[in-house]
Amino acid sequence: MVMQMNATQPFVDQFDDVQSRLPGSKLPWLEAFRKAGIEKFSTIGVPTIKTEAWKYTRLPNIDCKEFRSANWENGQVAVNAVAEFLSDALNQIRLVYVNGIIRPDLSNLTNLPDGISFEPLTQALESDPEFIESQLCTEELKYDQGFSALNAAMMESGTIFRVAKGVQVKEPIEIVHMNGVADAPIIGHPHNVFVLEAGSQATLVMRHAGIGTSAYFNNAVTEIVVGDSAILKHYTLQTDCMEAIHLSTVNVRVGKDATYETFNFAIGGRLSRTETRVRLEGRGAHCNLSGAYMMRGREHCDNITIVDHLVPDTTAREVFKGVLDDEARGVFQGKLIVHKYAQRTNGHQLSRALLLSDRAEMDAKPELEIYADDVKCSHGATTGQIDENALFYLRSRGVPEALARNLLIQSFIAEALEEISDEKVREAIAGLVVHWLPADCFSVDEWVQA
């Protein structure tokens, strides 16, 4: 308990210190919201391994006083080497943030279709504060996790994305976050709100890249509403650096006959943790929460999913695959909750990990909680090593060992990538997989085309 107090208090102090410099400080409702957030955070505190959702993940010691946000330092933190990184980005509509600061010079909104609003939170607080208020301020602060509550208090960046009724956009829209090249460790609490109105469709790609080597702490909360018959494809590509702590909580509500598809791809990060909570609220609602991660060194990746099947005829599918080398650790905790009236629920959950080293470790806990009687649910978790017979088979055909290993790793991950319905994004991720692999390996082109 004492430990927890010690870790919690500096964040509270930091809030007291910077609150007047946070965006929207003149909005009374936001001030109240932030207050509620910090109070909740002080009561809950930072998670420890006694917190169920943090059972296998120990939060590294963060001395938050060392961390700064450019958003409250009222200035730009030095950043170079950005253009180079962006050159391989999917060249399209995007907002680019560097160390949490929006960079209009790198963003591209020229082809934004009608019926879509896509802007930084800081800007939306000025242009449309009523909308933000309507999204944030429910009767009671809903956050019951320490870091989500802290985000409510500290939010200083983030993106607001709204798609009007019936508007359908095919091309992926991108949010790019670059972190790491800075004079001091960077802290950020982005708060995103994505609302797809009835019958709309969009694809959103969020890229988080660690450029450079300095530490950063990112504590994001994303609130998503997928309206009736709407489809949101939401992909996250995390290439965080070794010193990064990246926490993300995603809360999703899915309406009648609507689909929420998400894929979280993570390579790197001292701690990369994504908690996705989905409420299937309308008949025929469907979600696919899948992901892949590739970790080495002492990196740690944690995926948590909680799906509430609240009404009849909803479906959920989850496929997570991870590759862990050296002393890397992976965690998967997935829970499907089938509520009493949610008949004919169909739920499938799979976690598979490939350990490349005997010091690597995987903890998987798939869970079903079923209160209805007519349901189809399955879950499974496996952890294994490279198949030595397959390796020999490849080598006996002349394929050098390093290449053969890479091919087997690639094929292991490829199964998860099949969950991604957007071809462009799937290819982009296949490219990142190749990038992660050691030594020489197959080119992406060959892989994808086969």
């Binding site: 397959a390 080598r395 006996s396 055909r397 002349g398 050098p400 060992e401 053969a404 199964e415 197959f442």
Partner: protein, 249 residues
């Protein structure tokens, strides 16, 4: 081409091969027959270099060079090919990708230009037609969900594209119906040439009706017990392996 001298090998600390002597010249087809558990697959793995199969004594000379310390991929690139008794399934790797990487790895080793996608597809299409192999086998993941016959045909396809100098076929006939047996043996017969040596390992004489060997050897208790011409196969078919101290199956 292949000269095995006093070969002893252990698997999991147990001696399985206990002094094999065998010479196979270019242009020849040799058959090795023997009861289950006599060490036939062990011999094929030792020749191709599988981990865990340890040579404790003797030599395997391939064109005068000892293979025993060589990595399996180098052996393959140098022209040694093993058609597996139990071909391995590799989920997620399309057969065509597998074949292309294998062919190009071998070409790189030999100092030849790699085949680009176009060239490769052209080559592989011609081969599948030549061998009477259905094209959809190329798209599917390596051996995953293949029938026993398809797996063996896939081995023959790999052999045909890799163009080995020494081919070892481990019970390629087991579990095949007559049609599949014909595809497989036609494939092997097409490869018969003065520059190539083929070692056919089998439990039954049946395959040897299709691939007629120049020499037949009986392997039992980790040793070649007897060698002879193709008539030895007929004798084994009739009498079984009883005279080698193996109970009839």
């Amino acid at each position: 081409m292949l000269e095995i001298k006093n070969l002893h090998a252990t698997v999991g600390g147990k001696e399985i091969l206990k002094g094999i002597n065998l010479t196979v010249n270019a242009g020849e087809v040799h058959a090795i027959m023997g009861p289950n558990g006599s060490g036939k697959s062990t011999l094929s793995y030792v020749i191709s270099g599988k981990d865990g199969y340890e040579v404790t004594e003797g030599q395997i000379l391939y064109n005068g060079i000892d293979l025993t310390e060589m990595e399996p991929e180098i052996r393959a690139a140098e022209g040694v090919f093993l058609a597996f008794q139990y071909p391995v399934e590799i989920p997620g790797v399309p057969n065509v990708t597998f074949l292309k990487e294998a062919v190009n790895a071998v070409r790189r080793h030999r100092g030849e230009d790699e085949l680009d996608a176009m060239q490769f597809v052209k080559m592989i299409k011609a081969k599948t037609e030549e061998l009477g192999i259905a094209k959809d086998m190329l798209k599917r993941a390596v051996n995953v969900g293949f029938s026993g016959g398809e797996k063996k045909r896939n081995e023959i396809l790999q052999m045909a594209v890799l163009n080995p100098k020494l081919a070892v076929l481990d019970e390629t006939d087991s579990g095949l119906d007559i049609d599949a047996l014909k595809i497989v043996s036609d494939g092997v017969n097409q490869l018969r040439s003065d520059e190539r040596a083929i070692l056919v390992i089998t439990h039954y004489q049946r395959l040897l009706d299709h691939i007629v060997p120049d020499f037949v050897h009986v392997l039992a208790h980790g040793k070649i017990q007897r060698s002879g011409g193709k008539e030895l196969a007929f004798e084994l078919e009739e009498k079984g392996y009883a005279e080698y101290g193996v109970a009839a199956e």
